[in-house]
Symmetry: C3
Subunit: 349 residues, 3 copies
C-alpha cells in the first residue's frame, strides 16, 4: 500500500498549482502536506497580525520559486517541502527586527531584500541535509531555517540600516534560584496554547488554537500530539519551577510540540514503545530549549526550533538500536493514522 498524501485537484493544476504548493509549504512547518491546513494556519497568523501573515506568505513564495529556478525535485516542491523554511525565516527576521515583537513592524526595503536572500538560502541548503541524513532515513527538519536565521540575524548586529537592538540582547546567564513562582490557570492555558502559536512566533493564544485546528484538518492524532507536547512541556516547567512569564509566553512548549508530532506518529509508527520514546523526547526538548538558551545568552541569539531539531535527529538516528521502534522513511511519512494503517497492513501479509 503506497503512502497516500492528501490529494486535491489543485496540486497538478497549471494555474492554481503554485498556490497549492505554497499553502502546503506553510502546512509543512507542522508536517502537514495539506493546503487546507496551510490555509487555516495562515488565517490564524493573519488574525494575530496582517504583517506576519504577509511576510509568511512572501517567504514561502520566495523559497518555492528558488527551488523552481534551480530545478529541484518537482514532487518535493509540490509537497511544500521547499516552502516551510522560507515561511519561518521571513517571520523570524521581521519579529526580531520589530519594535513590537507581538504584531511586527512593516519591513523597510533593506529588510525585504534581506528576506529574499535568506529565504532563497534556506532552499539552497535543504538538499544538504538530505545528503547528510538521507542514508539514515532522517529528515532535515527545520535546520535550514535555524542555521540561516542564526547566520542572517547575527549579521544584522553589524549593519546600521536594520535595527535589532530591541530583540537581541546579549546577557550573562544567571541562576534562577527561587522562590518557586506561584502559578495560576493562566500559566497553563497560555503556556499550552501559546506553545503552539510560538512555532510560528505568534504571541497569541487564539492563533495557537487555530493552528491546532489547521493540523486537525489533516490528522487528529497529530493535533493531539502537539497538544500533549505543549502540555507536558508546561508540566515539566511548572514541576521544576521555571519563570512564570517564560512559561506563559509558550517558550517551553513550541519545541516540545514539534518533537511530539515528529516522533509521535510521523517519522515513527505510533506503537506503545514509540509513545514512551516520544514522551522522553518531549520532556527532553523542553529542557534542551532551556539549556540552549543559556549557551546562546552571551551572544543574544534566539534558540528558535534548534532544540526540536537536535533531539529529534538524535532520537531518529538512535532508533536502529531499538528494534521495538518502527521507522517511517521521510519520503513515506504522511499522517500518524496513515503510517500506522500501512504498518499494520504490511504486518498482516
Amino acid at each position: 500500500m503506497a503512502p497516500a498524501a492528501f490529494q486535491d485537484q489543485f496540486r497538478d493544476h497549471p494555474t492554481f498549482g503554485f498556490v497549492d504548493w505554497v499553502l502546503r509549504g506553510i502546512g509543512q512547518v507542522v508536517f502537514q502536506n495539506n493546503p487546507v491546513s496551510g490555509a487555516v494556519i495562515l488565517a490564524g497568523i493573519f488574525y494575530n497580525s496582517w504583517i506576519y501573515g504577509t511576510v509568511c506568505l512572501f517567504g514561502t513564495i520566495v523559497s518555492t520559486v528558488t527551488a523552481l529556478f534551480f530545478r529541484a525535485d518537482k514532487g518535493m516542491i509540490k509537497d511544500g517541502l521547499f516552502g516551510f523554511n522560507g515561511a519561518l525565516i521571513a517571520i523570524a527576521l521581521v519579529a526580531y527586527t520589530s519594535q513590537n515583537f507581538t504584531t511586527g513592524n512593516m519591513p523597510n526595503w533593506h529588510l525585504w531584500l534581506y528576506i529574499v536572500l535568506s529565504a532563497a538560502f534556506t532552499t539552497v541548503t535543504m538538499p544538504a541535509f538530505g545528503a547528510l541524513f538521507g542514508p539514515h532515513k532522517v529528515p532535515g527538519l527545520t535546520m535550514p531555517f535555524v542555521l540561516a536565521t542564526w547566520f542572517f540575524l547575527g549579521a544584522l548586529l553589524q549593519f546600521s540600516t536594520i535595527d535589532v537592538s530591541n530583540a537581541l540582547k546579549p546577557t550573562s546567564p544567571s541562576d534562577f534560584s527561587g522562590p518557586r513562582p506561584e502559578y495560576t490557570w493562566i500559566t497553563w492555558f497560555h503556556g499550552i496554547t501559546m506553545g503552539i502559536g510560538e512555532i510560528f512566533f505568534q504571541d497569541n493564544w487564539v492563533t495557537g488554537i487555530v493552528i491546532l485546528m489547521g493540523i486537525a484538518v489533516n490528522t487528529r492524532i497529530g493535533a493531539l500530539m502537539a497538544l500533549i507536547g505543549s502540555t507536558l512541556a508546561v508540566g515539566v516547567a511548572v514541576l521544576y519551577g521555571a519563570h512564570d512569564a517564560t512559561i506563559r509566553d509558550g517558550l517551553f512548549g513550541y519545541n516540545a510540540a514539534l518533537t511530539a508530532m515528529a516522533l509521535g506518529g510521523t517519522f515513527l509508527v505510533l506503537n506503545i514503545p514509540g509513545f514512551i520514546y516520544t514522551v522522553i523526547g518531549v520532556i527532553v526538548s523542553a529542557r534542551v530549549w532551556a539549556s540552549l538558551g543559556i549557551f546562546l545568552e552571551p551572544s543574544g541569539m534566539p534558540v528558535l526550533t534548534s532544540a526540536f531539531v537536535f533531539v529529534t535527529w538524535l532520537m531518529l538516528l538512535a532508533r536502529n538500536g531499538f528494534p521495538s521502534l518502527i521507522l517511517v522513511a521521510p519520503a513515506d511519512a504522511t499522517t500518524p493514522e496513515d503510517n500506522l494503517a500501512r504498518y499494520r497492513a504490511a504486518q498482516k501479509k
Copy 2:
C-alpha cells in the same frame, strides 16, 4: 582468533548477571569491559564520597535498565556499553548542583527524578552515534554523556527547585599573562593522580590511584597509558605556565588520560607510529581542554570530556590517511595487549 573480552561466570548468570553488567558499565568509562575493574573503581569513588558512589551506581543502573526496556542489543548491554554514560551523568549532575563539589550533597527528589531522565536519555542517544560513526569504525565514546549533561545542566539555571549557582559561574575569558607560577612536586603529584580521579569528577588523589589500579586489573598497558596521558598533560601545562591550582586539580589531565587509553592500544594497535600518534593526541587533548574552557566560559558550562571525544574522533577518523596506523574496530577492541596479540597473529598467517 576472535576477540577475547574478560569472561566470568556471572555475565550470563540469570540472577547476578545484572550486577555484572552494571559493574562493567562503570569499568567502561575507562574502556574496561571487566566487572572487577568496575568494582575497584566504584570502591575508589566510595572511598572519596559515599554520595558519589551511590549516585554513580544509581545512574549506571538506570541507563542499563532503559536499554533493557527498549530491547537494545543484549551483547552490548552485557558488556556495560549502555551503562557508562549513565554513571558519569549522575555524578556530574550531583557535583555541579552541590555546595561541596568534592564530596557532593545528597540530591533532593527533584534532582533524583532529573537524574533518571538524564541517564535514560544517554541510553536513548547511544545508538545515534553508532549510526553516524559506525560505518567509519569509530566509537561514540562519552559523547552521549557530554551532550546530555550540557542539555540538562544548562536547563537547571532556568529552574528554581535545583540550585547550580555555586558551580556554574559564567565569566568573560581573560588572558593569564604571568608571571609564570612556581611549581612544586605537589603540582606534579596531585596533577597526575587527580587527573585520573577527575575522569569520575573525584577531587581525591587516593581515588585516582585506586582507579588506576582498577584499570590495571584488566590491562597493565592501559593503566600505563592513563598514567602517561595524565603526566604529559601536566608536563605541557607546566612548560607553558598554566595556573598552578588548575593543574593541581587534575583539570589538564583527565581528557588527556582518556585519549591516551583510547588511541594508545584500545582503538589503534600499539605500534611505534601508533604511539607517536597517541602522544600527539594526548598533548592536543590537554590544549583542547584549555581552549574549550575559554569558549564555554561566557555560558558558565563545564568542558567535561568533550576535548577527549573531539580529538579522539578526529584522529580515529583520520587514520585511513595513514597506512602505518592499524585500526581496531570498536566491536573487536578489548585490551591493548590482546589487540596487539591478535594483530601479530593475523600478520603471521
Copy 3:
C-alpha cells in the same frame, strides 16, 4: 580526458621536489596546485613582513614533513594538500600573539614549538574530513586550520608564557544602529584588495594584489572570481551600512573571495546556474562572517575562514538536489578553465 594539473620538472625531482610541494602547499590555500602561484604569493607575504613570510614557509614545511613521516598519500603530498593548513595556522598563531598584528612579532621558543605541534595536528586531522565528506565528493577545505586554530589559540589564554591579550578581546555583542557611515573610494579599494590579503592575514593592499597575481598565474577565471567575491562582499557591506573600518580592513571580503573561487569553477562547473549559485554563496559568506563574529565575540575568538567553510560545505552538499549544477570531485578539480573544458568534452561524446 584526465584532469591536467600544472606539471613542472620539479614535482618528482629527488632533491628539489620538496621545495615544489611546499610552494604548491602555499598555493593550495587559494586552490592553486602550482608552485609558481605559491612562490608569487609567498613573495607578496614577504613584501608585507619577513616574519610572516618566514613562519608561513615554516608552517607549510612542518605540516608537509608530518605527512611524510606518517606516510600519507604521496600524490596528495606532492599536490601540496598537506601544506596549506600548516601555512595558515603558523601565520594565525603569530598574528594573534603579536603586539603588532600588521607585520607580526618574532615568536619566542615556546611559540615556535607550539607552531610545530599545531601544524602537525592540521596534517593529522586532514584525512578525517576526507573520511566524513569524501563519499559526498566534498573537500575538507580549510577546516583543519580553523579547528586547530580555535583549539590552540583559545588554550593560550590559559598559559602565561605566550601573551594574547593584545589580539583576543572577549566582548559582549552590541548592535550597530547607525548613522550609516560615509563611505569613500578608500572603503572600496582597500576593502577589495585587503579582502584578498586577509586570506593570509595580511593587512596590506599591495600584498592583496600580488596574491591575486599569484592566482592569475595559474587561472585567469579563478583570479576574476576572487575579485568578484571580495567586491560583492564590500558591496553588500556598504549597502547595509557596516562599520567603515571593518570593511576597509578587508574583513568582509576574505571568506567571500574563497567561496567565490571554490564554488565558481573549482568544485562546480562554471555554467550560468553555477554562477548564480556562486553569487548567492558569496553574499551569504559575507553575512555569515558578520554573524559568526557575533557568536564568537563573548569568547574573544576570531572567525577565521569558518564562514567560507560552512557555506561552501552546505552548498556543495546541497547540489545533488539541483541537477543544473555540475559537481567536480575534489580529486579531479584543477582550474575553472580546465574543469569546464573537460565537462564540455565529455558532453560531446
